[in-house]
């Protein structure tokens, strides 16, 4: 893959650029490197930064809802309301982020025109439609101390759907032709789940008195460590396909994520009982979780824009299948 030419910057038209902006091209290139003028085979995702931001907010909301439910069941009511607040905040942040990235935001509700199991985005929309109001309602009921029974019911709904909300986005990105996403299909949900857990824990740690925040701190640290591990596993499994994480701009986010997560885990783990330590550590973990989502997002764009990531593995697959690189592309 290293031999691959720098990919044309994926303009959102996905059309790459004109030769004049490609110095060093000496003539109509011979078809040595088996690609069409190094142009993308795939169209890079056209999603803008709102989308990774949503992965973060949605994950936070989902995991926080479950954390709140757990707290409620264990009678830790202060932690419960902290987590509920975080969950509601996550939900409220998600909606504009999602709508904003649509080409036709006013048609947001078309997502619910159908129920379509083959579309993670469709299922996600249904999840959000169920869990979102529940989480927000629960938080309100808890804060204002009104409609206690209804509030509790909502907490249960949101808490149960929470893990789904925190993981479906992993499936959503993996269910594309983008090599660095699709090939990591087994790990991405784990990465997203771990990140969600870490951020939920961190948020609750911030919003809950230290005395009641033990479970949150453990969730934060555990989640952070899980996240670091899961990412490591994912990139090992990807091998060459994972190199987009080493190319800008993904690299920066990946490194920041690793740094923040590690530091945050340490801070919370060692100094989490003290206000400042907890605050600083929690903030770091939240930042780390967010950066991790951005790293995944950017890596996806890079890998889609470079035909090498498409041709390489598919050729390997073919070679493995019929033992020869020069077999026709079909058995016919």
């Amino acid at each position: 893959m290293s031999g691959a030419p720098e990919p044309p910057t994926p303009g959102r038209s996905g059309k790459g650029q004109r030769v004049a902006d490609r110095p060093g091209v000496s003539m109509v290139p011979p078809a040595e490197f088996r690609s069409y003028y190094g142009r993308p085979i795939l169209k890079a995702p056209i999603w803008t930064d709102e989308v990774p931001a949503y992965y973060f907010a949605g994950g936070l909301a989902g995991a926080s809802a479950s954390l709140a439910l757990g707290a409620r069941l264990t009678g830790n009511h202060r932690l419960a309301s902290g987590a509920l607040t975080a969950s509601a905040a996550g939900i409220l942040a998600s909606l504009p982020l999602l709508a904003d990235d649509l080409g036709r935001p006013e048609r947001f509700y078309h997502m619910l025109r159908v129920f379509k199991p083959t579309s993670p985005m469709n299922l996600g929309s249904w999840l959000l439609t169920a869990a979102g109001p529940a989480a927000v309602g629960a938080a309100l009921a808890d804060r204002l101390g009104i409609l206690p029974r209804l509030g509790r019911a909502a907490e249960v709904v949101a808490g149960v759907l929470g893990p789904g909300l925190a993981t479906y986005t992993g499936v959503l990105v993996a269910d594309t032709a983008v090599p660095v996403w699709h090939e990591a299909g087994d790990q991405l949900p784990v990465v997203f789940a771990a990140g969600a857990a870490a951020s939920a824990g961190a948020a609750a740690t911030l919003l809950t008195p230290a005395a009641d925040a033990g479970p949150a701190r453990r969730l934060a640290v555990g989640g952070a460590l899980a996240d670091l591990a899961a990412v490591e596993v994912m990139r090992r499994r990807l091998g060459d396909l994972g190199t987009p994480y080493e190319r800008p701009p993904a690299r920066r986010f990946a490194n920041l994520a690793r740094g923040f997560m590690t530091a945050g885990a340490l801070a919370v783990g060692l100094g989490g009982r003290r206000r400042t330590g907890a605050a600083a550590g929690a903030a770091l973990i939240l930042a780390g979780a967010a950066c991790q989502r951005f790293a995944v997002h950017k890596a996806g764009i890079i890998s889609a824009a470079d035909p090498a990531y498409v041709v390489g593995p598919q050729r390997a697959r073919l070679a493995a299948r019929d033992g020869s690189r020069h077999q026709p592309a079909t058995g016919a």
Binding site: R18, V19, A20, R22, V25, S26, M27, V28, P30
Partner: protein, 867 residues
């Protein structure tokens, strides 16, 4: 062909699918080459050498189709002993006059067959060559007086041909064309393999062959090959001239050419005197030109109707008379010199499309008035405000006094009319939509213009107004825009008999004024009062010749000279290739097509002494338009530059003529004057300043001068910028960067283009020298969505004397990296180049004039040059 005739090319692809060998001869590897079995690269401007090599290969190895050649061509004819060949005169034929640079063809004639009144001589003086194949003199029993059927006589055409091409060996071809000898042999062998009784081969050419100072002789060489191999008048054979604009063939038949009347009748010249005098020269004793009186008088009747009578010579004197060369380029020079004050430009864009387009822009800026009819505001209509010369300061808008009238034209889908294609097939097209706004058809414009002029002249007693006032001008009009009926015009072309009904063909025409006919060769297109050209019977409902699809002139004949598809006895040469044949029982010619022979003329018909016209031709001579009925391997008359093709270098060639001392075509028309300077050709001092060959051509994505394509977003985006095609080797030599800019410089101009470095252009080794060729599409100009410099600014005006076509396919230039200078810097740079060339030459006055004189090769152009 795939590039410029993609729709027609589908038939080549079909032939290929059926096993045909497709060979593409082109300096560049194009989309056509990509689909061909073989691509043959050569140096632009050297095809006569290449084709001559094939002629030589055929003759040296005795591959000619003997029975065909001996019976159907003029191979056996013995030529006047005064004739001297280029082999004898080092590149000139006998009869050359160095003063006028013209030939007197008197010595080229058949032995004892008087041709003084033939077409060529009368036109030589005017520099016009028309009257295709016309020839005076009498035949004896259908044969010229002296022939040698054994083809052995040293002065018979066959032997002359052999001698003439003997030095065109594969090695010589390689030296001249840069084409590997093996390729020539491969091509020749393939042609031979696919010709003869069982098989036929076809040549397809277009302007890659015509736009040279020797263009006509290119086609002649192909004609010689096809006659030698027996590929004319037979299915699957022929030479197909792919035409340009839709119905450009039609505008040659019913001509927009200044020196022709409809149906290739010669335009009378000032010295012609009266009708009798004209017919004296034009009417031939043998062949179908024997009826010129019927054709011309019927034409006069069509134009002046009842006013045209026996008494007044049928208004023959109303016809304009030629006083000289009024072809396109001299007319433009007339504008420059203030001799031509007004100009109609209906459907042409010389500001981009004509050689030395800058000069055309300046010429138009020197008119009193200019009428442009077009569908877009083309450069030729907007030059007064945006010509490049305004940026360079050579033109100043305020000082241009030309009054420009830009009138919107209706397109072909907005009017009825006919398209005539290369196969002489006249196909009717119906209006699909009404023209928008003020857009009007040509027919509408000229009809109503004529009507208004006649109204203004009404009652005039001035005799010079008579021709206009007496014209039959009564076309019926339709609709609210008063569109004249195009079918009425077609019917006029067809002709009308004494009974007032459409005639069935030109054999019905009379010289007594009882018939009228607007174009004798089209006679029959409206037979039985039916628009025959509008027939659209699908091929699966008729024979494979599809005679009921539209209508072909003459007489709906799909293959001309089809008598040649049968042997002298009238039997098909082979079952595979049977087309028309003699049916002894029925006592007439029959077959798949309409025989272009008098149907009842026996194959063994021997014309009596007093026979006239077609009856003066013997039963075995298929070429019925020729005065001797044969296919001319050797042209005794009618061509301005010789009876046989000889290789000459292009006017500005940086290469020597390795075959003759004569460097370039001695009869080429040159116009050496300010604004049209030439670069020194090979052997002239300073030639090194312009070391590279360039050629110009089309892209599928654009149309000609761009008025119809550069303004359309869907086409503009496909080829958005002017570019040049160069080889990797040249790019390295000159430091050109792929995708960057280059500036191309000639003696006239410098233009800029994006650089496309491609292996499709390959340097050739010719005569121990590397030929770098530069490819330039010529579609760009200053208007439209996709703009760029015009390749035609680079070209000088130098013409083939036969047809006055410019040499736009082979020029000399220099190329350098980077964009061209802007403003006044630009002409200065071009001037510097020329000065440098001159300084390299014989001192300050080593002027370009040298290059211009078509002298015998010029200094150093002589024998010494031949390596």
């Amino acid at each position: 062909m795939a590039e410029a005739h993609p729709v027609g090319f589908q038939w080549v692809m079909e032939a290929k699918a059926r096993g045909a060998q497709v060979i593409h001869v082109d300096p560049r590897f194009t989309r056509t080459s990509a689909l061909a079995n073989l691509h043959v690269p050569l140096r632009a401007g050297t095809d006569i050498a290449f084709l001559g090599g094939i002629v030589n290969y055929i003759l040296e190895h005795g591959h000619e189709f003997r029975d065909y050649v001996a019976n159907y061509t003029n191979a056996p004819v013995i030529i006047d002993e005064r004739f001297a060949d280029t082999e004898d005169l080092d590149g000139l034929f006998s009869g050359f006059d160095p003063e006028s640079n013209e030939y007197d063809p008197a010595t080229w004639t058949y032995q004892d067959m008087e041709v003084a009144s033939g077409a060529g001589s009368r036109e030589g003086k005017l520099g016009i060559a028309e009257h295709h194949g016309m020839l005076g003199g009498r035949l004896e029993h259908g044969n010229p007086p002296h022939t040698d059927p054994s083809l052995e006589h040293p002065r018979c055409v066959f032997q002359i041909l052999k001698r003439h091409f003997r030095r065109y060996t594969p090695e010589m071809v390689a030296k001249v064309c840069g084409t590997p000898p093996s390729l020539l042999v491969e091509v020749a062998e393939s042609l031979v393999a696919n010709s003869g009784r069982e098989r036929t081969s076809a040549f397809v050419y277009s302007v890659g062959w015509t736009q040279h100072t020797v263009g006509v002789q290119y086609i002649r060489t192909a004609a010689i090959i096809q006659l030698l191999l027996g590929n004319i008048g037979r299915p699957g054979g022929g030479i197909l001239a792919l035409r340009g604009h839709a119905t450009i063939q039609g505008s040659t038949d019913v001509p927009t050419l200044y020196n022709l009347l409809p149906g290739y009748l010669p335009m009378p010249k000032a010295s012609d005197g009266d009708l009798a005098g004209y017919l004296e020269e034009a009417k031939l004793p043998a062949g179908f030109w024997g009826y010129v009186d019927n054709y011309l008088i019927s034409l006069l009747k069509a134009w002046w109707g009842d006013v045209a009578t026996q008494e007044n010579d049928f208004c023959f004197d109303y016809l304009p008379r030629l006083t000289g060369d009024h072809s396109s380029y001299p007319t433009m020079l007339g504008m420059l010199d203030g001799k031509v004050k007004g100009f109609f430009l209906p459907g042409q864009n010389p500001a981009v499309g004509s050689s030395n387009s800058a000069l055309h822009r300046k010429a138009m800026a020197n008119l009193d008035w200019l009428v442009v009819r077009d569908m877009a505001e083309i450069e030729s209509a907007s030059f007064w405000k945006d010509a490049p010369e305004i940026e360079t300061g050579e033109l100043v808008t305020e000082r241009i006094r030309t009054e420009v009238f830009l009138l919107p034209a209706a397109s072909h889908v907005e009017k009825d009319g006919s398209f005539t294609n290369t196969q002489r097939l006249v196909q009717w097209h119906h209006k699909a939509v009404e023209p928008p706004g003020d857009c009007r058809s040509e027919l509408w414009f000229y009809y109503h213009l004529g009507r208004i002029i006649r109204e203004k002249l009404a009652g005039s007693t001035d005799p010079k107004d008579r021709p206009v006032l007496d014209l039959v001008w009564d076309y019926p009009t339709e609709g609210e825009i008063q569109e004249p009926s195009a079918e009425a015009v077609l019917r006029e072309c067809n002709g009308v008999g004494p009974d007032g009904r459409a005639v069935s063909g030109y054999l019905d025409l009379k010289a007594d004024g009882s018939t009228s006919c607007g174009c004798w060769i089209y006679s029959g297109c409206y037979a039985d009062e039916v628009n025959q050209t509008a027939r659209r019977k699908p091929h699966w409902e008729q024979s494979w010749v599809a005679p009921e699809w539209a209508w072909a002139w003459p007489y709906n004949r799909r293959i001309l000279y089809n008598r040649a598809s049968a042997d002298p006895e009238g039997k098909p040469w082979s079952e595979r290739k049977r087309y028309v044949w003699w049916d002894e029982e029925a006592g007439k010619w029959t077959g798949h097509d309409n025989p272009d022979f008098v149907a009842t003329m026996r194959p063994d018909y021997d014309p009596p002494e007093d026979a006239q016209a077609e009856k003066a031709l013997s039963g075995t001579t298929p070429f019925i338009m020729q005065a001797d009925g044969t296919g001319w391997l050797y042209v005794p008359n009618g061509l301005a530059d010789g009876p046989l093709p000889a290789h000459y270098e292009p006017h500005e060639s940086p290469f020597p003529n390795l075959l003759y001392g004569q460097q370039a075509n001695p009869t080429r028309q040159v116009f050496d004057r300010p604004g049209n300077r030439y670069s020194p050709a090979h052997g002239q001092p300073g030639a090194e300043a312009y070391p590279y060959v360039f050629t110009t051509y089309r892209l599928t994505e654009h149309h000609t001068a761009g008025g119809m394509s550069r303004g359309l977003p869907y086409l503009a985006e496909l080829q958005p910028e002017m570019f040049c095609e160069v080889s990797p080797e040249l790019a390295a030599e000159r430091g050109l960067e792929h995708g960057g800019w280059a500036t191309i410089v000639t003696a006239r101009a410098a233009i800029e283009a994006r650089v496309l470095v491609t292996a499709r252009i390959r340097p050739l080794e010719a005569g121990g020298r590397t030929v770098h060729q530069i490819g330039l599409p010529w579609h760009w100009g200053t208007n439209g969505l996709s703009r760029g410099d015009a390749a035609n600014d680079l070209l000088g005006i130098v013409l083939d004397r036969n047809v006055h076509i410019q040499e736009s396919k082979a020029g000399a230039c220099d190329i350098r990296p980077g964009r061209r200078p802007r403003g006044p810097e630009l002409p200065r740079m071009v001037e510097d180049y020329r000065r440098r060339a001159e300084r390299a030459g014989a001192g300050p006055d080593g002027s370009d004039g040298r290059a211009a004189e078509p002298q015998r090769g010029g200094p150093g152009g002589g024998k010494g040059e031949r390596a």
